[in-house]
Symmetry: C2
Subunit: 195 residues, 2 copies
DNA sequence: ACGACAGTAGACAGATCTGTCTGCTATCGT
DNA sequence: ACGATAGCAGACAGATCTGTCTACTGTCGT
């Protein structure tokens, strides 16, 4: 055939770059970490970075896109072990507890990136998409669980979720997520039994 | 007398510097905004900045200290209009609604600063102090309101507070704070009537 | 065999940022 | 009148950061 398949090698420069960016940007901030640090850790030439991503903003966008996708996968996979819609709804917080308990946890990658970027930039755009997905997920689960007002229940759960995420970050301890899970369970049970 | 009083003038370079830093650091981030921007907006010589605050870290510390103090004053003043301990406890969220409704609201200054600073830096230290104060305030108010377990109630309210603060920031809309206030009212009433 | 391609190594330009230093000016207490 | 203090203006050094460019090197499909 005329055109070769779009290059899915084994360990491309792009992949190494993305892995290094994911680690460094999350741990120290997208603005604090310079290009040189990323290419050094990736073991890649500077020209490769610019040829792959155009500029630093492109790398930041790819980093956040990767975070978005891996978060989707982590949550959906983590929910598979729950049998009922009610358990899946509360289970979102079980997945969160696991996530914030990792030693490398440093808060929400989207909030962090958006805190050090200018208004209306890449970070805000990616954060909006990530947030919309979460909200839709919770509304859908709330509906399946039989909540009379799925949108309101989802909005309340989002607040618990955000609070747990921020609290665990600032306290450098996962306790807030455990508390939030307990609150979420009470909230969900009250909503679906009050039918 | 031998030593003059520690100089409390009318509109010192220090005050203008702090006002400029407060505005710029909060709006765009402590790391993004350079020294030159701050001294330009303050209308102050660069040497004055370094003579007043030592270095940029000193200015960031003073900025966060100022935020801490004005937040304490804002909350304590805002709670004065409430008559009962129960209303004061929920009233913390009324004050929050006002705060996040301002057009210039950009999230928690401490979280933002800490997101773009390195681990164990000034921002983390100031954030810890600010957080400890909030937690003690809520525990005290919960005790006065007659909650059987003030510490647990306070921990739950902190999650709602953090969630409202982060949500209003990321959504660029104060709705999350209104929802959090409603949740807080239910939580508080359930706790103090279940006696 | 060979051209296309992906990547490497590193110099370089231009901007920006922190922090220092020199020299000048105005005000105020004594 | 005068010295101390606070502040202004801006040059400067040194580091760092983004982004470009040149030249070289493997590898793979045809």
């Amino acid at each position: 055939m005329s055109a070769a398949s779009p290059a899915v090698r084994k360990q491309s420069a792009r992949d190494r770059l993305l892995a290094a960016a994911d680690e460094l940007f999350y741990a120290e901030g997208v603005h604090t970490v310079g290009i040189d640090r990323v290419i050094e850790q990736a073991g890649v030439a500077k020209a490769s970075l610019y040829s792959c991503f155009g500029n630093k903003d492109g790398l930041i966008r790819a980093y956040l896109q990767g975070r978005h996708e891996s978060r989707q996968k982590r949550i959906l996979t983590g929910l598979e072990r729950f049998d009922t819609p009610r358990d899946r709804l509360v289970g979102v917080f079980d997945v969160l507890i696991d996530y914030v308990s990792a030693p490398a946890y440093r808060g929400c990658a989207f909030y962090n990136a958006s805190a050090e970027s200018e208004k209306g930039g890449v970070a805000e755009e990616m954060s909006d998409a990530n947030r919309a997905w979460t909200q839709e997920l919770l509304v859908g689960l709330a509906r399946e669980a039989g909540a009379p007002d799925p949108a309101t229940l989802a909005a309340q759960l989002v607040i618990l979720y955000d609070g747990a995420s921020a609290g665990a970050r600032l306290d450098r301890h996962p306790e807030a997520a455990v508390t939030a899970r307990a609150m979420a369970a009470i909230l969900v049970d009250a909503a679906i039994t009050a039918l």
